[in-house]
């Protein structure tokens, strides 16, 4: 075992003691340096010394993405600029960006988290790691990069884009691990196929480390099936640390959270009450060690669950459910709550459908239109109009049985939907608000 994985197995009593000790340092630090936090604590009548047990964390106020926007750029920064060594920013879809300044210590913890994920996936110093996440303000590229370097891997920092060249380098350098978004990997696979390259035969690729966008088990199966690699899930978010907050082991159906650094809670998003382990709700994180921009009870908007029971791998770090749904992603169509991930899961059950689709919502004079465009695979295209019509029908039935709505299903040619090199946009909502 790589020594970097040692903390994964910290005995639970020791872990809880460590978390409490870290929180008892973090809360006063945050109270002293961040005005918004202090003001909210005072409004609630809660003082840092009220944190006596881990459960007392529930007395403290939440932070939200809107706080990061409102306090942009440096309002939530606790450390002096003297100690800040890097900024990451994310623009999001609406207006103002958020900015997360980090100290060297913050970056070290993040790299450790990413390295522990890679080690858990079975990646070692002997691996050649291609980082095809975007580099820059986005945390994906640099997060995976420093994590892989920390583990001692040979890193190929291609970034996103220039796909044909990426495939050439992958072959020439004997790349064994690729880190990118699942949608970019699918794009890469399409381009490779066009170039006549078979991942199994022509590359040494064994592992894919995928994150930055929610993806379903069905897409994971597709990826493994077309490429022969093992697809691993890495979780992170800019507000907390980028990729490397949690990852899956070979046993669990979920992701071990590195809760010695990132303390998780699950809350009811309506009542804001903390829910016991085993119940589903909104995932909330507190950064236990971060000094640049600490986050106390940050509401991720991700829907998950902290699983109960022990994982056969022996890691003591709690397992969260894979993120299938981000509460921000929920669509209300004809009064029904629909998650794009539900639709994705339906589509992937139809083998003739390529893993590329687009949900298109618009308004006519009288009503909302709900259309799903799906690519047929080149292999599935037949000269027979009835077969294609039957395929369209099966796609419709699959969606209808799960979401209870009958969207218009449009079959489109393979490769005709837009591809993305970063996070993919699968929903176009042009409805009148």
């Amino acid at each position: 075992m790589n020594p970097i994985s040692k903390p994964d197995f910290t005995p639970v009593p020791e872990l809880r003691k460590m978390q409490l000790a870290k929180l008892q340092k973090l809360i006063p630090y945050e109270y002293e340096h961040v005005a918004l936090f202090r003001q909210r604590c005072d409004e609630k009548g809660v003082k840092p010394r009220d944190l006596v047990t881990l459960a007392d964390l529930a007395k403290f106020p939440f932070m939200k993405k809107t706080d990061l926007r409102d306090e942009y750029p440096l309002g939530l920064t606790a450390a002096p600029m003297h100690d800040i060594v890097r900024f990451h920013c994310s623009s999001g879809t609406t207006g103002k960006p958020i900015c997360i300044p980090s100290t060297q210590g913050d970056l070290d913890i993040w790299s450790e988290g990413a390295a522990r994920c890679l080690a858990m996936y079975g990646i070692t110093q002997d691996d050649v790691v291609q980082v095809s996440y975007g580099y820059g303000l986005f945390t994906g590229g640099l997060g995976a990069h420093y994590g892989a370097e920390r583990l001692g891997c040979a890193v190929l920092p291609t970034g996103a884009g220039n796909t044909e060249k990426q495939i050439m380098l992958m072959q020439d350098l004997g790349v064994t691990v690729i880190c990118c978004t699942p949608s970019y990997f699918l794009h890469l696979a399409t381009v490779a196929e066009k170039m006549g390259i078979d991942f199994r035969r022509d590359t040494k690729l064994k592992h894919g480390v995928f994150g930055a966008e929610p993806w379903t088990d069905e897409i994971r199966e597709r990826i493994e099936q077309i490429s022969g690699i093992t697809a691993h899930d890495i979780y992170g978010l800019t507000e907390i640390a980028g990729p490397g907050v949690a990852g899956n082991c070979q046993h669990c159906h979920g992701l071990h959270i590195w809760e010695d650094h990132f303390y998780p809670e699950i809350i009811d998003p309506d009542t804001l009450e903390v829910l016991p382990d085993g119940e589903q709700g909104e995932l909330v994180f507190t950064t236990l060690d971060r000094l640049g921009t600490p986050m106390v009870r940050y509401r991720t908007r991700d829907i998950s669950r902290l699983q109960t029971g022990e994982c056969p791998c022996g890691r003591t770090m709690r397992v969260m459910d894979r993120i299938h749904a981000r509460s921000d992603d929920m669509l209300i169509i004809h009064g029904v709550n629909v998650f794009p991930s539900q639709i994705e899961a339906c589509l992937m059950k139809v083998p003739e459908v390529a893993p590329h689709y687009m949900i298109d919502l618009s308004s006519t004079d009288t009503m909302d239109r709900f259309e799903i465009k799906v690519e047929v695979t080149a292999e599935a295209f037949s000269d027979d109009i009835r077969a294609l019509e039957g395929l369209r029908r099966r796609v419709l039935d699959a969606v209808k049985s799960v979401v209870g709505l009958s969207p218009k299903i449009t079959l489109v040619a393979p490769g005709s939907l837009p591809r993305s090199e970063g996070k993919i946009k699968r929903v176009i909502d042009n409805r009148r608000k």
């Binding site: 000269d383 294609l388 449009t410 079959l411 490769g415 005709s416």
Partner: protein, 132 residues
């Protein structure tokens, strides 16, 4: 005679057919004949080209879903009842016509039609047998 046909998936949006034709023109492929089949939400364009291998290659490279399929070219006797005789033969042999379109219409001579049968080989055998 069995000949190769190119079938291309057609999305239900303007400019699709023009794009296919442009791709083939740029590849210097000549279209001998074509036929459009439409379902409510998509279509298939079927073509006989002078060089179907080059045509299929150019279309696939341009990102179209293309398939090479086999069809049967049949000469229809240019006289009253010519078509009736032909269909009667096929009927006796128990083959179904999935679709058909004109391959070339000679001026006052013979018409050649392209057929896709549920069983091309059986249809060809039936037509050949009764000719002799």
């Amino acid at each position: 005679m069995t000949i190769k046909q190119l079938s291309v998936f057609l999305e239900n949006k303007p400019g699709q057919l023009a794009g296919i034709m442009k791709t083939l023109a740029e590849a210097d492929v000549n279209i001998v004949t074509l036929s459009l089949a439409n379902a409510p939400e998509f279509g298939i364009v079927r073509m006989i080209a002078d060089d179907h291998v080059k045509g299929a290659d150019a279309l696939a490279k341009a990102g179209y879903a293309v398939r090479e399929t086999e069809v049967v070219a049949v000469t229809v006797p240019d006289r009253p009842g010519g078509m009736a005789d032909l269909t009667a033969k096929l009927d006796r042999a128990g083959v179904d016509i999935e679709y058909s379109y004109a391959y070339s219409l000679g001026h006052g001579e013979k018409a050649i039609l392209v057929f896709r049968f549920d069983d091309n080989a059986k249809a060809e055998a039936a037509l050949a047998a009764e000719q002799t």
